[in-house]
């Protein structure tokens, strides 16, 4: 098995774990972490493709994309955390209940 295939598989596994987490968990922070895991999987897959095509040097485009993607993902995650924190401050709740 080539190195990049290991990365690719890992990325898919991470993505699925994250996706499952988003839907299954109720807790705000768990959900947010789940999206971050999804993101990790996605970025890993980009990098793994860069590695695969590497003959002499790695493909630079995926790296550029991943950097942009990470910036965006960090911003989203930060925003989500801020919201979760605010909800906690306002109501004391830290997870979605059935009626909300």
């Amino acid at each position: 098995m080539e190195t990049y295939q290991i990365y690719s598989l890992t990325s898919a596994v991470l993505f699925v774990i994250g996706l499952g987490g988003v839907f299954i968990s109720r807790h705000f922070i768990k959900k947010i972490i789940a999206t971050i895991i999804m993101g990790g999987g996605v970025f890993l897959s980009f990098v793994s493709f860069a590695e695969r095509d590497a003959l002499t040097f790695a493909d630079p485009v995926p790296h550029a994309l991943v950097i942009t993607g990470i910036v965006v993902a960090v911003a989203s995650a930060a925003f989500a955390l801020a919201l979760a924190r605010r909800i906690y401050q306002l109501t004391g709740e830290e997870s979605f209940t059935k009626d909300k």
Binding site: G39, V72, A75, S76
Partner: protein, 511 residues
Amino acid sequence: MTDLLTSPYPALLVGLPVLLATLSLFFRTRGKALVGLLGCLLTAGLAIVAFIEVAQHGTVIHILGGWEPPLGIMLRMDSLAAVFIGMTAVVGVFISLYAWQYFRADESGPGEFPLFWPLWLFLWAGLNGLFLSNDLFNLFVTIEVIGICAVALAVLSGKTTAMFAGLRYLLAAITGSMAYLFGVALIYGSTGTLDLGLLGQVLEPGTTTTFALLVITFGLMVKMAGFPFHFWLPPAHSAALAPVSALLSALVVKGAFYILLRLWMEVFGVSITYAAGQLIGLAGAIAVIWGSWQAFMQTSLKLIVAHSSVAQLGYLLMIFPLLILAPGVTADSADWLSPAWTAGIFQVIAHAFAKASFFLSAGLIIMALGHDRIESLRDLVGNMRITAMAIGLAGVSLIGLPPSGGFMAKWMLLKGIFLSGQWWWAPVVLAGSLLTAGYVFMLLRLAFAPAREMGTFKPVPKSLEIVALILALGSFLIVFPADYMIQFLESTGVFGSGIESIVEGGAYGND
């Protein structure tokens, strides 16, 4: 590609709102609003100019900073993009005018929310960027910008319900984007390009492509609240401030639909099967019935309107099965493609106008009453005649009664359904209309019920009522330029094309 005219407008359409949004951040409350409104007016004007440019010269492109793709970014404005940008501009400018007055109405209004303006301008820039994008990654960035701005707007009121709804919205948006990005990674991995035009030519059918299609479609369905991923929409749209609800329902969800349509038609033609079209159509059909029924069961105005959005978006998904041809049917012989596309475009525009009007009217009712339980509407009608009229007209367009834009959409949809022989969609369209009539008249009948004792009723500014009415009228007036618009859409781009689905063994590119 190089024979297309290069024009500065695509870049300006994104740059100008970003610039003014950033600028407005340096001002205090009132200044923010002023700069913001100015930015909205300028952006709308620019959109109209750009629209005319495309109408005169056909598709125009802009390569940012002279850096050629793949590392640079190319913006491309064809007629489909121009129509979406034009719609955003017209609906957006009315919502902005409303917001300007709405946030200033000191005593009765919800107060001032100066952050509305930069967020809305960033959102607008994101929408314009989305419509103009020509590569998969750029689309990702724009939907993220849109998603974050949309959520920020949705929680602007600071109320707890809005916070909960907003967090749910944000998580759905991130999940959708990540799924989309995963698909992008797979595509890039298998083809080495992100350019939409190029992908349409080089993408080959196979497991990777199919899987990429699957995750991308999933992600975008989540983003556009397509059934069964619609759960986040009603709370988020109903808990937001009135102008925000209008923006979210009328414009934001259309962004994800736009990408979905583009990608299916332009990129993934090779691996889309007839069954896939039927499946997405089925999701749309269920959304139409389920959303309308849910709307019918609600007791507060904004929730009705929000659930109605789920249903109306369902109609958009219902054009997909018509665009994906059964094996053996060629695009040239399929005379229902044009009606189906027309139905989609008109549904998008008519819904944008009608739903914006509906939400803005709901905002006025909340302003007057302090709440939006529907049984209280009866006390208001005598005093808010224009609002009642706006709700009535917007409702008629949503039901699809003639001669509204919604009628045009349903007419074309049914026509496409009959021409294609996929008659099983027809009952859905009709049942949807009936259920829509159910909830619209559930509201309207209160206009005729005798008023009870007045509680605390605050008068609302007439100018706000008029904006809502103009938008409602807009959903009727859009029928008149239909000829021109369809001609324009047919001149460039994907409008009117169909996917010749895979026949065993071989694969055909899209038309």
